[in-house]
């Protein structure tokens, strides 16, 4: 599968602040790629480098086979962008702004525009100055989705949308994906990423610390299990990879590292399982472990090889 976005060793400093610190990102053509990270981790900076608005200090970056800084105009015919914080001209109406972007991009499709306006319940006659944050975001979304762009760069595009609109957005992205177009979706809404993304990259302090498909990443997480057993749950707590073990009469509750799941389940069945509830690992948990850790200790920033930092274990 061809590569739509590829960066290696990307760095960018703003004064003494290091915004990107050897970022290696790879997005395959035709996939919806989740780009996860907390505020200030470098998501927006990365996207702005990809747009050719910022020039990286070092490292390589290639977008659809071209240099985003040098070939910006040519590339922008093939991509659409939705910023996280949409700022519009307050005295133009939403409809005017959408049309303007369509015409600037050159692939204006009035039928699709009108259809999207309807789906997102957006009133195009209102001045954008009177729009809420969510409505301004809808303007940018409609403009981007109405285009034929082969690559969509979406920077937290749903942060102002309500759950109904979030669902509409997800439908639209599924359609975009069905058309074989590529999406880079930066987000910190994990449910959204879980619902939409084929692969994802997690960014922390300007570098990718984790990447792969959702399944691959789940190996790094824990499954939580609640069970009722016929015999008292002896010896279970001593197994490798068991955490937060609680026992209450016949009920046990624990979390188990996904790669230690098999021995734990074997031991459970020896005890005679009456009932079993198991929660698959959520992205949320993965995310929390990564950043919960960050709160506990300053991360090491010495290894500059670009290897993903191993997931910390307790």
């Amino acid at each position: 599968m061809p590569i739509a976005i590829s960066t290696s060793g990307l760095t960018k400093n703003f004064g003494s602040t290091r915004a990107l610190d050897g970022l290696d990102l790879s997005v395959k053509a035709g996939e919806v790629h989740g780009f996860l990270g907390p505020n200030g981790s470098g998501k927006t900076t990365t996207i702005r480098v990809l747009l050719g608005l910022l020039r990286a200090d070092s490292g390589d970056v290639e977008l659809l086979g071209k240099d985003p800084w040098r070939d910006a105009v040519e590339l922008h015919r093939r991509l659409a962008y939705v910023p996280g914080e949409v700022s519009l001209w307050p005295n133009l109406t939403g409809g005017e702004v959408i049309d303007l972007f369509g015409r600037l991009r050159g692939d204006f499709n009035r039928r699709r525009r009108d259809e999207l306006l309807e789906r997102f319940l957006l009133d195009p006659t209102k001045k954008t100055g009177s729009y809420s944050k969510g409505n301004r975001q809808k303007v940018a979304l409609v403009a981007a989705l109405a285009s034929d762009a082969e690559l969509l760069l979406l920077d937290e595009p749903t942060s102002g949308l309500d759950p109904l609109m979030e669902a509409v957005f997800q439908d639209c992205i599924h359609e975009v994906k069905a058309q074989g177009r590529t999406v880079l979706l930066s987000s910190h809404i994990l449910a959204e990423v879980e619902a939409l993304c084929d692969r994802l990259s997690i960014i922390r302090l300007g570098r990718i610390v984790e990447g792969g498909t959702l399944d691959e990443l789940r190996h790094l997480t824990r499954t939580s299990i609640i069970a009722e057993t016929m015999h008292p749950a002896q010896g279970l707590a001593d197994l490798d990879g068991i955490h937060d073990f609680e026992i209450d009469a016949a009920h046990v509750r624990f979390e188990v590292d996904t790669d230690h799941l098999d021995p734990a389940v074997r031991r459970l069945s020896e005890l005679g399982v009456r009932s079993l509830v198991s929660h698959p690992p959520t992205l949320e948990e993965l995310f929390l472990r990564h950043y919960g850790d960050e709160l506990a200790q300053e991360p090491e920033r010495v290894d500059r090889e670009g290897d993903p930092t191993p997931l910390p274990r307790r």
């Binding site: 702005r48 747009l51 050719g52 608005l53 910022l54 020039r55 910006a72 105009v73 040519e74 922008h76 015919r77 991509l79 659409a80 962008y81 910023p83 914080e85 949409v86 700022s87 519009l88 001209w89 307050p90 005295n91 133009l92 109406t93 409809g95 005017e96 702004v97 959408i98 049309d99 303007l100 972007f101 015409r103 600037l104 991009r105 050159g106 195009p124 006659t125 209102k126 001045k127 100055g129 009177s130 940018a140 760069l153």
Partner: protein, 529 residues
């Protein structure tokens, strides 16, 4: 008075946050007047010199139209008030309008007031804090000016009344801005409307001072000059200004409680659901965004052009009364007195219109800082094309404003009895300023391209050009310094003859600066820097 809770805390916050702006305004205005007070004795070293000037000026409608009524001109104090009064009061007016607009509607438009108002803060607290700040600024300016004049040995009564008139004129225009800020949703419109009132005040007093002085009573600047600093001072006209200030602030407060936060009194109407065909290119967008501004400035220049054209024949008449003085003045300047008058008029209008030109060029920057530029630049629009579109409006708008100024002045002068044959002459006399305005556009974009943090310096350069252009001679500034202003390099038509070389050189410099700016813009990062 819970509606005022938090006023003092907010005032302290404003003083802390805006101390840079506050300091710059006060220092610049006081410095200009202080230098004037020090310099003017060098210009008129003897009482004989003062007497001669006083006699000549009393019959010079051209100078009166720009400065104010001829009163007490045979004293140093009277000369200071005459040479620097009107212009200085325009500056305190601008200061008050800028600060009030920024601190009230500006905060509201940016959404910051919303956060402040969510705190235990009264509904009028921010407004009052803004008024207190601006009042304190005007007070400081007035007191310092009076102190400087007294220190120079000028009469105390005149110095004090001159200082107080600065304070009150500043407060009146602060009140105007405050009132407008309640009515409109946009800070730009506040600046534009209040600025138009200031321009009208300047023009009204010009019209009044040329005539019997009645019309001047409708202008705050005119009223302040009726207090006759250094010429049999009288206090009561200043009470009028106090009353107007109180009325304006009361009206603003009354309107403020009748509207929602963030809204104006005029509700936003729905607009077109789809874009007109013209709104489909960067140039179309730039024009659309600047259309209202161009119309506003055009209207301002039109009114001033009509006023100065209408005064024109009076300048002729004044000369008719006193041939000896006409010859004296004409001999000094090279052209006729009327021609010199028009040259000064066009210089004034060109400097004014440069406000539009710089604002227009700096759209490139404000679009960037407001994060709107990135939306346009994420489409197949190059940085060059994006910036050039706004600059095209700046360059063409400069010419349009000058054309309006020239035609309005010429036609009104013709209709008022000056002769229609002068229309083409005056038209050209206005247009020659275009290259000087383009240089200012070039400077603004060069700053944006190379040191975007410092684009505000463009405005400082414009202020310097105004000071040099109108006060340079009286301040005794060295000629090399005066020659740095592009507006001093323009042939002073119609008093001087048209020479193309300076215009070609100025245009080339403007083109060079623009090229530097655009190149810089292509090389640097885009975003809030």
């Amino acid at each position: 008075m819970t509606s005022l809770t938090g006023t003092l805390a907010l005032t302290r916050f404003i003083l802390r946050r805006d101390r840079g702006w506050i300091l710059i305004w006060i220092v610049v205005i006081v410095a200009v007047v202080a230098l004037a007070a020090i310099g003017i004795e060098g210009v008129f070293p003897t009482q004989t010199a003062l007497d001669q000037t006083a006699a000549a000026t009393a019959h010079n409608a051209a100078v009166i139209a720009f400065n104010g009524p001829a009163q007490g001109l045979n004293t140093v104090g009277g000369q200071v008030a005459f040479q620097f009064g009107a212009m200085g009061m325009v500056f305190v007016g601008l200061m008050s309008i800028f600060m009030v607009g920024r601190l009230t509607r500006g905060e509201e438009e940016a959404g910051r007031l919303e956060v402040v108002r969510s705190l235990p803060v009264g509904i009028h607290a921010n407004t009052l804090a803004a008024v207190l700040t601006v009042a304190a600024m005007n007070l400081t300016v007035g007191v310092l000016i009076a102190a400087v004049l007294i220190a120079q040995g000028l009469p105390v009564a005149g110095s004090v009344i001159f200082g107080v008139s600065f304070i009150l004129v500043g407060l009146v225009f602060g009140g105007v801005a405050l009132l407008v800020a309640q009515v409109t949703e946009s800070t730009r419109v506040v600046y534009g409307t209040a600025g138009a009132v200031l321009g009208a005040a300047f023009v009204l007093r010009a019209v009044g001072d040329i005539g019997d002085g009645t019309v001047s009573w409708f202008s705050p600047i005119g009223v302040a000059q009726k207090a006759r600093p250094f010429a049999d001072e009288r206090w009561w006209p200043l009470l009028l200004l106090v009353a107007v200030t109180v009325l304006l602030i009361a009206a603003a407060a009354a309107l403020a409680v009748r509207r929602d936060l963030g809204a104006g009194l005029v509700a936003a109407r729905p607009g077109p659901p789809a874009a007109a065909p013209s709104l489909g290119s960067p140039l179309g967008l730039a024009f659309r965004l600047q259309r209202a501004s161009l119309l506003g400035w055009g209207a301002g220049v039109l009114v001033i052009g009509i006023a100065y054209g209408w005064i024109g024949p009076t300048v002729d008449a004044f000369i008719g009364q006193n041939k000896a003085i006409a010859e004296l003045l004409a001999g000094a300047g090279g052209g006729s007195l009327t021609d010199m008058y028009f040259a000064t008029s066009f210089r004034l209008m060109a400097l004014l219109a440069t406000g539009f030109a710089i604002g227009s060029a700096l759209r490139v920057r404000s679009e960037e800082t407001s994060m709107r530029a990135e939306l346009v630049l994420a489409t197949p629009v190059s940085r060059w094309r994006f910036a050039a579109s706004h600059l095209a409006v700046a360059f063409a708008g400069s010419v349009i404003l000058l054309a309006v100024a020239g035609l309005a002045t010429g036609l009104t002068y013709g209709l008022a009895g000056g002769g229609m044959q002068n229309v083409p002459r005056l038209f050209v006399a206005a247009l020659v300023y275009a290259p000087a305005m383009w240089i200012m556009v070039g400077l603004a974009i060069a700053l944006d391209g190379l040191v975007p943090r410092f684009v505000g310096v463009s405005w400082a350069i414009l202020v310097a050009c105004v000071v040099v252009g109108f006060l340079g001679a009286v301040l005794g500034l060295p000629s090399w310094l005066q020659d740095l202003s592009p507006f001093e390099r323009v042939p002073q038509l119609p008093a001087a003859s048209l020479t193309l070389l300076p215009l070609v050189v100025l245009s080339a410099v403007a083109a060079g600066l623009t090229l530097i700016g655009l190149t810089g813009l292509r090389r640097r990062d885009i975003g809030r820097i």
